[in-house]
Structure formats: C-alpha cells, structure tokens
C-alpha cells in the first residue's frame, strides 16, 4: 500500500462507484499541476479568486500582514487521511515539512506511516508559498517528491488550505491531498493533571523571578510546550489521589494509580498524557520526578515529587516547572541531554544544552559549568534537535503509547540536513574532494572544521565519522539519501583541541566508500551529493557545504575490470581497515593482489598498494579455529617497497589525496625507524616537507607537516 500513489485517490471506489466524470475531472487537473523542477505554479483554480482578492487588498494596504503558513493541516479521510505539519515561519521555525498518514477502514482509523522533509526548497510570491522537497518515509514508495502549495492569506482572511501533491523523482504524478488548516500547533495533546492529597500542584512561574537566560514571562507547563509548538489541552478533569500505602510511591503503584485515575487511560497510542503531582517516591527525596510508564504501551504517564521542591519560594516554583516539563519531555520520548548516546539510534551527548532535558548540575559548556551557570543562561526552552523531534518525529517515535522509551528518540542525521535559521556556533564545516572519481576509485573526502569566531573555540578533534561528532549523508544518483554508517563504531575518550588564530582549523580525511548497512556506496557512475554535520558540544549543529562528487563512467574494458576488482565488499572493508590478513577478507586481498599484478600501471593500483603496504607494516594476530594464536610479523622490506611506490605515484596531481599521502609517508618513516633505518626515515620526512611545500598548502597546515617531520 502506498498513500502517495495516484491510485489511492480513488480507493473510495471500494465503498462506492465513481463516475467516469469524477475520474476524468481528477485526471484533467494533472496537466495544470505539471511543473518543472523549481518552477513555481500558479495557485489552484479554486483558490485563484481568493488570492486575487487578497492581492487587491494587499496592493491597497500600506502594510501587509500575512498569516503564518506554519501549523497543522488535515485532509478529509477518503480513505487516506493526511496530517501535514508545515514549519516554515513563526517561533523557532525548523524549515521542515512532516506528516502522518492514517487509513480509514469502516469506522476505524489506522496509522499507516509518517514522512519528513528536511531540506525543502521554498518559493514565496505575494500570493503563494510553494514548498518542494524529497521526503524520508517510513514505507517504501517511488513517490518521494512532495510539493505543497499554500495560498498566502492576510491576517484579515481565514487560514488557507494546503494542496499536497506527491510525485516520483521524474515528476510523475501521484496522489493529491487537499488539507484545510487545522491548528497553528504541530501537535495537540490532552493533559490530565492529578495530585496526591496534601500536595499543592504547580501552576505557573514567572521566569523573571530569578536570573535566567531568556525573556521574562509567566510559564505554565502548557505554555512551555506551546512555545515548542505543542498544544497542551487541559483534560478538564483533575483527581485528588490518596497517598500510596506506606506513604511513598513505587513505579508499579504509580502505574496502577494512572490506570485508576487517568480518565483517558487506554493501553493504546494516543495524544493523551497524565502528569501526577505526588510527594515521595520509594527511592527517597533525591528523586524529583520520573516517567514511570515503561510497561505495555509506554510513556503515557509521569510524576513529579514535591518532597524536596514543594513551596512558593521562587527557586522551588522554578524547580517544579522544570521537573514537570522535563518529565513530560520523557513521555514524548526525549532523553536527557547527557544520555543521548544511549538512545536507539544514538546521538552525541549534549552536555552544554540549555534545555529542559538537561540536569542543571550536569551542564558543561565552553567555559561555564554547573547549576548556577545553567540557570543564568537557561532560556526555558528545548534545544534545537528536541524541537525538531517534538514537531516532526515519526508518529510512533513520539506519540504517547508509541515506541518504547528511547526507541526513535531522535531523528537521525539524514533527517536533519536543512540549514539552521540562526547559526551562532562560530564554526564552519567544509567538505572537499576532487570533482570526480574514477569508477571503482575509493572516495575519500577531506573534512575541515574552521573557526569563524575569533574568540576561539574548544572542539573535539575527532572529525572522522567513526567517532560520531561528524556525520555524513550521501544522496545517490537515483535520489536516495543514506546516512554514512562507518563499518565499525569507535568508542574513544573525547579529546579536544583549541581553535584560535594560531590554529584556525582542523582537518581529517575519511574513506567513505564502504558503509556498514549499504556496502559499497559509490557502486555506480553518476552524481553524488554529500553533506556533513558537526555536532558541537554545546548542542549546535554545524552543517557543511553540499559537495557534489561525480563518479565517472569507465572508459574502456580495463577500467571496468579494475573497477570490478576494487568494488567488492571485502575490498571496501580492507580499504576502511587499511588492510588485514583476516581470512574472511581473503577475496578482497586476492582482488587487490590481482590489481597489482595484472593492472599495476592502472591509476587505481595505487590504492591496492597502499592497503597492502600498510597491512604488511604491522604485525597481524589471527586466532585460529583451534584457538591458537598465530602471529604474522611485519614485513618491513615489502611494506617499504609498496609505500614508496605509493608516495612516488602521488607526488604530483595523481595518486592519493594530500591527507592520505601525509599519513602514508609518516607510516613509511615509522616502518623505516622500526627497521633501524633512521637515515631513510629522515629522508622520507624531508621528502614529505618538500612535496607538501610544492602543493600550495595553508601556512598553518605546512607548519603542522614540518612539525610532524621532526623525528
């Protein structure tokens, strides 16, 4: 089933017979909707009159106040119902579209799937907003291109209706949905608040009562969520719950209380949530709140405990607000800022996040840390990625009673590739690579993180995607976007480096041709688009330029044969590992051997030699089937010969990229030192400085290379 396919516009035919006129009318609508990539269409006929009228009003008005287009739109179920979320203007816009499909069947409505568009292109005229993008969907479909058109209405007119058209990548039309405006909020949730007898539940707090990092305003729990784009509707019911036997609550007792007192409780996914204001948990006064609902359909209830935070003092009221918003955040499947790496899928922790989901005492930014620093800077809001989750997460990843806690708790990076509306990170991420690669050539990109804020910045120095601070997404020639997943996860102590005027940038080179889930990524000629994101410790996401990389078609039979030998899965893994004797990778080693033997003069042979040269420079331990350890000693002479050849082939414009060449020359020198040939090593390092001096590198890069050359 695919709600984006044209056929499903007429699935109502199962319920009743459509006339040929009805079908013809729909078909006729198609030519007028046909667009070329990037072309802005005129508004639909049925909206034209309204927009012309509005335009007339606009021209006569001194100042024009347009309605925001952001918000939630909903189509009529026939049988597919589309809930569309448009997030393009208003408070903290995230430049995204997302939506959920539900399918009516008889008198039931069943969730089908969700989609999100992260980098839509937007055209705005005085009468129409047109949004076009490629959707990431939870179901397989060829209709991934979406176009949304929303007539621009002034504030004097009612909100406009959105027209959604799905298309294939080649602009073949799919389904069309007409979605009237429903709400300025992206989601609406019913909140029931009950309290334990003797507990005075939190109502509101003026954020100007104590120093903070945001504007002073009076926040209730509902208003805090409204600011994030989530409407919290009071259930209109409130129960006073007797104290638990023994005076303290266990998680099981809390769950039972929820079942008994939460008027809307059902063990199903629904936009309803229970917040219980209680006094004490079994754990003791150290527990201020908990999202206790982690059985059955999870995340439908949470509790705050007032034993430690009761009272009207400003600090207590602030704590009560913080705990309540925070626990409800868990119900929406948000993890702590310092636990993001434990989510499924994981994300880097954000210790410096000024978010409802951090612990004030765990706060750790550049030069500030601890509780006082947190409160002084906290603007009483969720961080950027949490807002994206709240507004655009796939239905089951956020709905109360959906996926278990932590599953789908954050959109993966590929889902986060639109430009930041505001970027005060002080950093710039750049991807560089040759404009084109030969078919079968390992694709290596240079990742550069550069300081733009002259005050300096401390950043993790592990830019390789292996470590998770930089993530890459790759759009293949067919339009499919995949996140680059390194074959092996690296867990390493975070080391940082200070970027300042003396060292304004750091660089890393990464082979990205082989991926854990997709194997060989660049396995067909064509244009690939790459984009990276750097997750800064303060929670900022620094997006890179979009790098276009073309994989050239083979020019002849020899090119094809060599490409064939380079593109196996084992070869990809060997390139990633820089060689291995592992028996399971034998076919890859055989292929590289064949490249060296039969096609030694082919430009790609340099990579086979590099892999083999690196591998032979190291000892290799192999645990045999009989559990005995077999050790292959380094083969220095052979390794030196291969690496020297690689260096010679890369001195000019051909061969390896600069960073890989630098790495190879340092390895060669190391092998020479280990073989007791210090003079040769010194000569290699001298040659390295000479080669890179001729490559027009930036002075600070050359300075690093000269430093490396001192052995």
């Amino acid at each position: 089933m695919d709600p984006n396919m044209l056929d499903f516009e007429f699935e109502g035919a199962l319920d009743r017979e459509f006339s040929v006129e009805e079908v013809a009318q729909a078909e006729e609508a198609m030519p007028e909707l046909r667009i070329e990539e990037g072309e802005v269409q005129t508004e639909p006929a049925h909206e034209k009159e309204k927009t012309e009228e509005a335009a007339a009003q606009i021209s006569s008005a001194a100042a024009v106040y347009y309605r925001r287009v952001s918000g939630r739109y909903r189509s009529c179920p026939r049988p597919w119902e589309l809930i569309l979320r448009v997030d393009l203007d208003g408070y903290r816009p995230k430049k995204r579209l997302s939506g959920d499909f539900f399918r009516r069947s008889g008198s039931t409505m069943v969730y089908f799937g969700s989609f999100v568009v992260h980098s839509p292109s937007i055209s705005v005229s005085s009468s129409l907003v047109t949004i076009i993008g490629i959707a990431t969907t939870t179901w397989a479909t060829s209709y991934k291109k979406i176009r949304v058109r929303i007539p621009r209405h002034t504030t004097a007119s009612p909100p406009a209706t959105a027209e959604v058209r799905w298309m294939t990548m080649t602009n073949q039309y799919g389904a069309r949905y007409i979605c009237p405006f429903e709400s300025p909020y992206f989601r609406t949730v019913v909140l029931e608040q009950d309290h334990e007898k003797g507990v005075t539940p939190f109502v509101s707090y003026n954020t100007g009562s104590l120093p903070s990092g945001g504007p002073a305003r009076t926040l209730s729990v509902a208003r805090a969520y409204r600011e994030a784009g989530i409407e919290m509707v009071d259930s209109g019911r409130s129960n006073v719950v007797p104290t638990a036997p023994g005076g303290t609550w266990s998680n099981a007792e809390l769950h039972t209380a929820m079942e008994n007192h939460f008027h809307y409780w059902k063990d199903v996914p629904q936009w309803k949530v229970w917040l219980f204001h209680a006094m004490k948990h079994d754990y003791g006064p150290g527990l201020l709140g908990i999202m206790f609902d982690q059985k059955g359909k999870q995340r439908q209830g949470c509790a705050g405990f007032y034993q430690r935070i009761a009272g009207n003092a400003a600090a207590n009221q602030r704590d009560q607000l913080y705990v309540c918003v925070h626990e409800l955040g868990h119900c929406f499947n948000l993890f702590h800022s310092f636990h993001k790496k434990y989510m499924d899928p994981p994300m880097p922790n954000r210790l410096g996040a000024l978010s409802w989901m951090n612990y004030p005492r765990n706060y750790k930014a550049d030069s500030q840390q601890g509780e006082a620093a947190f409160w002084a800077a906290f603007p009483f809001q969720f961080d950027h990625l949490e807002i994206i989750h709240l507004r655009h997460a796939f239905y089951n990843n956020i709905v109360l009673g959906g996926n278990p806690f932590g599953k789908g708790a954050a959109l993966e990076l590929t889902n986060d590739y639109s430009d930041a509306v505001v970027d005060d990170s002080g950093l710039r991420l750049a991807l560089e690579a040759p404009k084109s690669f030969a078919f079968g050539e390992p694709v290596v990109v240079e990742i550069q993180l550069r300081l733009t804020d002259l005050r300096g910045k401390k950043v993790p120095d592990q830019l390789h995607p292996n470590y998770g601070f930089v993530q890459l997404a790759i759009q293949k020639p067919g339009g499919e976007v995949i996140p680059y997943e390194p074959p092996i996860d690296h867990c390493a102590e975070v080391t940082t480096v200070q970027l300042d005027e003396s060292r304004p940038a750091i660089y890393e080179s990464a082979y990205i041709g082989y991926d854990k889930d997709n194997g060989q990524i660049f396995g067909q000629p064509g244009m690939y688009r790459l984009r990276g994101a750097f997750f800064a410790p303060d929670g900022s996401i620094v997006l890179s330029n979009v790098l276009n990389v073309r994989v050239r078609s083979p020019l002849g039979a020899e090119d094809e044969e060599v490409a064939e030998l380079m593109l196996g899965d084992d070869q990809g893994m060997l390139l990633y590992l820089l060689g291995s004797d592992g028996p399971t990778l034998q076919s890859g080693n055989d292929a590289f051997e064949q490249v060296i033997d039969q096609y030694g003069k082919h430009p790609l042979a340099v990579y086979a030699r590099m892999v083999k040269g690196f591998n032979l420079s190291r000892e290799f331990k192999n645990l045999a089937a009989d559990k005995t350890m077999q050790t292959r000693k380094p083969k220095s002479a052979k390794s030196q010969s291969l690496l020297t050849q690689v260096v010679n082939e890369s001195e000019g414009d051909a061969g390896l990229d600069n960073i890989s060449l630098n790495m190879t020359m340092r390895r060669l020198a190391q092998v020479q030192i280990e073989a007791g040939e210090k003079a040769k090593a010194a000569e290699t390092m001298k040659q390295m400085v000479s080669i890179f001096s001729g490559k027009k590198l930036k002075s600070h890069v050359l300075a690093v290379i000269k430093k490396q050359a001192k052995i």
């Binding site: 006064p285 150290g286 908990i290 999202m291 626990e327 868990h330 993890f335 867990c491």
Partner: protein, 99 residues
C-alpha cells in the same frame, strides 16, 4: 555507624552486578539495566564504620571490575557507571538528584 549509599547509574544493560564493601557482598543483582528516564539502575545502602573502606564493583558478564577507596567521615553517596568498557565512580557528600 555511617551510611554508604551506592547508586548504579548509567551504562548498565542486562548486567549481573556484584558490589563488595571490604570484601563483604552488599549487592548482587542480575539483569540490571539503567532506567534512562532517571539515569538510575539500582541502589543499595550499607552501614560502615568511620574510616577507609574499599568498594569493589564487578560485572562478570562483561569481565569488568573496579575498586574505589572511600574515606567515611559522614554519610556518603557513591555513583557507579559503566562507560566505554570501564567502570567509573562518582563520590558525593550529598544525595544524587534524579529526575
């Protein structure tokens, strides 16, 4: 006697956990997993005399073990976490806060 509270915090995932204080078992649990809604997996209290004591935490299923010395002059709180294949400790004079 003074109270030593030991909180098993982040990084536990279906683990067997043994905690010994001065060689005496104070906690032995199976299937210990961190509840990330609060960042706590399990907790235990033990009474000890003032002075220096040795706390040993072992996760046999992960072949991890670590020892922490604690000097008791008043009640003390010891947080234990597993991160990147290592057991880590945090000592606090105040109770840890969770929410």
């Amino acid at each position: 006697m003074l109270t030593l509270q030991i909180d098993l915090q982040d990084g536990f995932s279906s683990d067997i956990v043994r905690v010994l204080v001065d060689g005496q078992p104070v906690l032995e649990l199976e299937d210990v997993s961190t509840d990330y809604s609060v960042g706590l997996a399990a907790s235990a209290k033990t009474e000890v005399a003032p002075g220096l004591h040795q706390v040993e935490v072992t996760l046999p299923s992960k072949q991890l073990s670590a020892i922490q010395d604690v000097r008791m002059t008043d009640s003390l709180y010891l947080g234990v976490s597993v991160d990147e294949g290592r057991i880590g400790f945090r000592i606090s004079k105040d109770p840890f806060i969770y929410f």
